[in-house]
């Protein structure tokens, strides 16, 4: 264990580190500038439990409806039924892929053993062999277990994807149950799927390069399989995720350098929830909140949808009068300013602008004068 790992472990405290999924890895890129989030994620801290303990449980996006989960499961089972017959037909017909005879290899368990490590070793052995013998291609690997270095930890990714090799290239197939209607799908769902697929691609690429094989053997065109229109019929589409792969790599590299961020923190700082033997958290709330505040956050309203801790950070930003709580348009409009009170003081002329605030101050004073005239100076 490195010094960084030890430091991250002490930050997290006595709870077990959370394991990553492609979903949580994709979420790492949601707000790359946020140190608080980067540290929490690298340490594997349970942000949801922390947020609840300090009084800000996550409200939106906290859980998925059982109806959505069931539908996802049914759709995936249907696509993969009978050795992926439906899937192979789609790949041939919709995408025109020249698949020869296809065999199907399910890696969900290895001789009854379902531990992540064993499954990963098996996946790795099979995929590396396939990479070295591209002529023997034609296997669909279902439930491969991949591994990715995230911060100080090795994260196992258990994708609901199939990987296969054709003409010397591995492809990642992602099965999602949101519908594509008249060729269009919900933008947010597609963006999330693309980012998750990027996590699988990065993991595959790393596996190959670790064995001195070329990363270019992994296609960055992901095959997205979704229901079409209002029927459960599946359709397949290519999405180019080069950009998402680059974004994810940048964020992972940043987390690998997490030591730099750690050095700036006071020693002894911890987000330990101090669970007692019954699992009740005993850490004093105020103390935990102060510990969280030591690490700078970069709150933006979008966090409410992507980060478990957002309620806490929003409250902190509000207390500080930060402009960011009013959304990106307001923040962009006011350029160099960062607090509500500064902006209002410049608008009313109470505060003298610094050199770089001169332009925005003039604009604000002008708008304020118009607004005062409208309100008759009273409202």
């Amino acid at each position: 264990m490195t010094a960084t790992d030890a430091r991250l472990d002490s930050l997290r405290g006595s709870t077990e580190p959370l394991s990553f999924t492609a979903r949580t890895i994709a979420a790492l890129t949601a707000n790359p500038g946020c140190v608080r989030r980067a540290l929490m994620d690298a340490a594997g801290a349970d942000k949801a439990a922390l947020a609840t303990h300090v009084g800000f449980p996550q409200r939106s996006g906290a859980s998925q409806s059982p109806f959505a989960l069931t539908r996802g499961g049914i759709f995936e089972a249907q696509v993969k039924a009978s050795g992926g017959a439906d899937l192979v037909r789609l790949l041939r017909d919709k995408l025109g892929l020249d698949l020869p005879e296809v065999s199907y290899s399910d890696l969900e368990s290895v001789g009854g053993n379902t531990t992540k490590k064993v499954r990963y070793r098996r996946t790795r052995a099979l995929l590396l062999r396939a990479a070295r013998h591209p002529d023997q291609a034609g296997t669909l690997y279902d439930h491969p277990m991949l591994r990715l270095q995230v911060g100080g930890h090795l994260a196992y990714l258990e994708p609901d994807v199939v990987a296969f090799q054709i003409q010397g290239k591995f492809h990642v197939v992602e099965v999602k149950s949101f519908a594509v209607i008249d060729g269009q799908a919900d933008e947010e769902s597609v963006a999330a799927a693309a980012m998750q697929a990027a996590a699988y691609i990065v993991a595959l690429q790393d596996m190959l390069t670790a064995e001195s094989l070329s990363a270019s053997a992994v296609s960055t065109d992901v095959i997205l399989v979704t229901p079409e229109n209002f029927s459960p019929q599946a359709t397949a589409t290519f999405i180019d995720v080069r950009k998402q792969v680059a974004i994810l790599r940048r964020q992972l590299a940043r987390m690998a350098r997490i030591g730099v961020l750690l050095d700036e923190l006071p020693s002894g700082l911890t987000f330990d929830l101090a669970p007692d033997p019954d699992g009740n958290y005993t850490r004093a709330r105020g103390e935990l909140a102060s510990a969280l505040e030591v690490v700078p956050a970069r709150y933006q309203p979008r966090c409410l949808k992507t980060c478990e801790l957002a309620g806490f950070c929003r409250d902190e930003a509000r207390a500080a009068g930060a402009l960011t709580v009013l959304g990106s348009v307001v923040r962009d409009d006011l350029g160099s300013l960062d607090s509500i009170s500064t902006a209002l003081a410049l608008a009313s002329g109470i505060r003298q602008p610094s050199a770089d605030q001169a332009d925005i101050a003039r604009a604000l004073r002008y708008v304020k004068s118009i607004s005062d005239t409208l309100a008759g100076g009273t409202v």
């Binding site: 409200r59 939106s60 906290a62 859980s63 998925q64 409806s65 059982p66 109806f67 959505a68 989960l69 069931t70 539908r71 996802g72 149950s177 949101f178 519908a179 209607i181 008249d182 229109n229 209002f230 029927s231 459960p232 019929q233 309203p301 979008r302 409410l304 949808k305 509000r318 402009l323 709580v325 009013l326 959304g327 348009v329 307001v330 409009d333 006011l334 509500i340 009170s341 902006a343 209002l344 608008a347 604009a363 604000l364 002008y366 708008v367 304020k368 118009i370 607004s371 005239t373 409208l374 409202v379």
Partner: protein, 499 residues
């Protein structure tokens, strides 16, 4: 959003209460709108679980699908919704009015009223469009025949959803957008997407700030989301177990059990919908309290026209709207939408000092003092006739971004048009030379007051008539780049077959 709105947001955040962005209402609110609050099943597209609907505060009806995956129950729901929507529309087709002939058009008849469907938020608006898409192609004959009311509902919902893209149209209105047009809250636009949270800032309960009230609405147990997505926690703890109970009773053929489960599901969904129902009517009465502008009535007339046109299209056996627009139709539609948006902004400026102020801050309008005037200036036309073309100069501190040649209107003189003849800027001000081109009278009989006096404070904003309709080639002359001559295509078989 302009800096004026931004400033209002800052002030709202500090004062704990939303700031008015306008004191008049630019959108017609029908005396009897049809409110629809749809709820949908998570995961499946266009699979409704419930809808609360009605035309008055205490006249709500609740439609529920106890097992959303059952095609029969879903169709039963859609037939029920169709009865309500089609009945509401038919009531609007009872009376007609006659528009006398004008120079440009012959005498014609149109419906004296139009439907207005109100939904809580933009997502609900989009959802009605999606329901329209999923039902308008359903077959009314063959093995999967449905009640003809269902595809008819689909065509109307599609019509309403399409109209909502047209700025200023009031046939389908969503309340979060309407409220945001009239008030700036002290939270982000993302949080404004929640009707309850936005209302909390505009009209917080006594003793609470907008922020406190808005935060309280975030607890789904106290304030269920306005939909169409249900709260996942509710799905997990209540709805899903009840649906399973329904399934068990249905599989065992126990009529009483099915009825009991249906009653429980109905009660649970009613509990999820009622707070939003109340919020919708609160929002409607807040908006009704604002005086409606004259041009809102004119835009409503345009709505009556399009309602009448679509009604006769359907009466002539109109086919369901295509899944995708033909290239030429799309180009014309886009052009129409852009012009509607631009005209809407400038029209509002004529009636609303707040909007005028917004346009001033963005340089599209200006106000200032008259510094010189030539009230009796004449020019000689090409035909050799002397015409009156008075000029005057306005000095303004506003950041004018209008080019010479633009036609403007002064909100105080609706019938007059002026054109920018010249524009010179100094370090802090701009001098705009304006030439009166309409409403000035003749050299012998100049219109009194056509030219403002020196020292008078005046404001000018672009002429909405500038955004008049553009001519597109007739259907048979559409170039191949846009799909070639337009041929009406029948909906082919297999467009949509139920699973």
């Amino acid at each position: 959003m302009t800096l004026l709105t931004t400033l209002a947001r800052l002030e709202a955040a500090v004062s704990g209460r939303a700031r008015p962005l306008s004191r008049v209402r630019h959108c017609r609110l029908a005396a009897q709108p049809l409110v629809i609050i749809p709820l949908t099943l998570a995961g499946d597209p266009a699979t409704p679980v419930a809808a609360m609907t009605g035309t008055s505060r205490y006249g709500q009806q609740l439609l529920v699908v106890p097992q959303p995956h059952s095609r029969d129950l879903r169709l039963g729901f859609l037939v029920g919704l169709a009865r309500i929507v089609l009945g509401y529309i038919a009531d609007r087709q009872n009376r007609t009015e006659v528009l006398p002939a004008t120079k440009k058009s012959e005498e014609r008849r149109r419906f004296a009223d139009a439907p207005q469907v109100i939904v809580p938020n933009q997502a609900a608006r989009d959802y009605l469009g999606l329901l329209g898409r999923s039902t308008r192609f359903l077959p009314t004959d063959g093995p999967y025949a449905v009640d003809p009311a269902v595809p008819s509902l689909g065509k109307w919902l599609t019509f309403l959803a399409d109209s909502a893209d047209h700025t200023g149209a009031a046939l389908l209105a969503d309340l979060t957008s309407l409220l945001a047009e009239h008030w700036a809250s002290g939270q982000s636009p993302l949080e404004d997407a929640s009707l309850a949270a936005q209302l909390a800032w505009i009209d917080p309960p006594p003793g609470m700030t907008g922020l406190q009230a808005a935060l309280a609405t975030e607890d789904p147990l106290r304030c269920p989301p306005a939909g169409p997505a249900t709260d996942p926690g509710f799905d997990q703890a209540i709805l899903e177990p009840l649906v399973r109970r329904y399934n068990r009773a249905a599989q065992a053929g126990k009529r009483a059990g099915v009825d009991r489960a249906t009653a429980e599901i109905t009660a649970a969904l009613k509990g999820q919908l009622e707070p939003t129902w109340d919020a919708v009517w609160r929002a409607i009465s807040l908006l009704r309290a604002l005086p409606e502008t004259a041009l809102a009535g004119r835009r409503w007339s345009a709505d009556k026209d399009s309602f009448t046109r679509f009604s006769s299209y359907l009466a002539d056996g109109g086919l369901p709207q295509p899944r995708r627009d033909h290239a030429a139709t799309a180009a014309a539609r886009l052009d129409r939408l852009e012009r509607a948006q631009a005209a809407y902004d400038t029209e509002r400026a004529l009636e609303d000092p707040f909007v005028l102020a917004e346009l001033r801050t963005s340089g599209e309008a200006f106000a200032g003092e008259v510094v010189s005037a030539e009230p009796s200036r004449t020019i000689i036309t090409a035909a050799g006739r002397a015409v009156l073309r008075p000029r005057f100069t306005v000095r303004t501190g506003d950041p004018v971004r209008l080019e010479p040649g633009r036609v403007l209107i002064c909100p105080a003189h609706h019938r007059q048009r002026v054109q920018i003849a010249d524009l010179t800027r100094t370090a802090t001000d701009a001098d705009v030379v304006l030439e009166v081109v309409q409403g000035m009278g003749t050299p012998g009989r100049p219109t009194p007051g056509a030219v403002p006096a020196i020292g008078e404070l005046v404001s000018f904003t672009p002429d909405p008539g500038f955004f008049a309709q553009r001519d597109f080639p007739p259907p048979e002359q559409i170039p191949w780049t846009h799909g070639g001559p337009l041929v009406r295509r029948a909906v082919g078989p297999g467009e949509e077959t139920p699973s």
